[in-house]
Symmetry: C2
Subunit: 273 residues, 2 copies
Amino acid sequence: MPDRRSAFFISDRTGITAESLGHTLLTQFDTVEFRRETVPFIDTVEKATQLAERIRQCAEQEHFRPLVFTSIIDPAIRQIFKIETALTIDFFESFIGELENELGRSASLSVGRAHGMVDEKNYDTRIEAVNFSLNHDDGVKLKDLAEADVILVGVSRSGKTPTCLYLALQYGIKAANYPLTPEDLDAPTLPKMLLPYRNKLFGLTIDPQRLHSIRSERRPDSRYASIENCRFEVNEAESMFRHHAVPFISTTHKSIEEIATTIIHKATLERRF
Amino acid sequence: MPDRRSAFFISDRTGITAESLGHTLLTQFDTVEFRRETVPFIDTVEKATQLAERIRQCAEQEHFRPLVFTSIIDPAIRQIFKIETALTIDFFESFIGELENELGRSASLSVGRAHGMVDEKNYDTRIEAVNFSLNHDDGVKLKDLAEADVILVGVSRSGKTPTCLYLALQYGIKAANYPLTPEDLDAPTLPKMLLPYRNKLFGLTIDPQRLHSIRSERRPDSRYASIENCRFEVNEAESMFRHHAVPFISTTHKSIEEIATTIIHKATLERRF
């Protein structure tokens, strides 16, 4: 039986930073079973004191010491999570002194800048990119392709839509979505609409077996979902990408984060915020 | 003139963790201007050596030492970024020893678990939630409301759509989107469709001035965008929320991350992965 530990990710804001690094660290201990709890918006001494009390109780009831990961800016609140019966890892405190030294000035200790709304312009950029993705999801217009930062090309269900949305939400990047139809795949050239935008194209491909399984969820026993047709479409799409030097990646064993960051990296896209 | 520093966020995978904590730390020094560069997928000694060389050149050419934030699991690769002419902050190394001690075992040193595709089930959960959001974005069906984990209610352009998509992409949560129409706002009760799902409702509101400015971008000089109408709609929506004890938050000064995590927290939603 594996060990079982409680792990708390505590933040004065969203908890995204504490979770992100905390999870990365814990995935290195796969023989331990963690009960994970994220507690965002711990921004007063009172909330912190209550939570610390709960962690102390948890420490008393459980066999092992809880792990506490904090990303909290206010030193008075951070202090409250130095609990003798828990292991506390303080992401902020660990590095801020070193940075203060290097930069020759004190930290401003202002909360809420990282995932807060820094300015309305950033927000508007993201929303505009999200709306861009949504508006043309049902069919591509030439105007959209002209306006896009990148055009994702691939067969149906290769992962284009979630990737476009992720690029828009996380990075404000306008990603258009061009689904390769059976007619496109039969033709020897790139789809005509795409010709003026060759340098914006990025291909997505997928293992035919996985595609077959995804499509079967939607339309079981259809020609569309059949393994033969999936093999054919993927083959044709990949040879189109190769023939026209369109960069492409396989989405099969990748998370949406990995697909999106790989595209940004390989296509050297500029993030909008 | 503010100081200017280069800051590198380096990772063996997507770079999301290194960026997340790195940015949080740097926002504390707002009198320094940072040139930020994220370099993902540094997963071989060769790539690391090339990048370290580039950082050394940058150090020679610039007045101040570059800052290097790394989240890299392989100790041999991490080692390469200990550059005498830069300040390196190694997120992984800083904590992994302490965790190994506490947990009484060695880190498995396996790369790519945090934002990698842990299993296909997680991926499918996210895609299903994204498709759920997309499918009913043009109009709500009763079936969707029954299936939803949470139903976001608010006037047009109060932030429902991006929040639904973020909840789906980041947390696999199925969020339905119910736009309050002028008819809904005139009625003294909750919209009829929503009555069976009262406990799933979460309201979004927004400052009328901000709403006016967002709507004016889309339909300038319309009644829809007029400040009087925006004030009326927001007022009616808020009194509906209060009257029927629907929890609600203002999206005005919040980022999408903050809106989403606040909803999860207040509505005690369960993340799907």
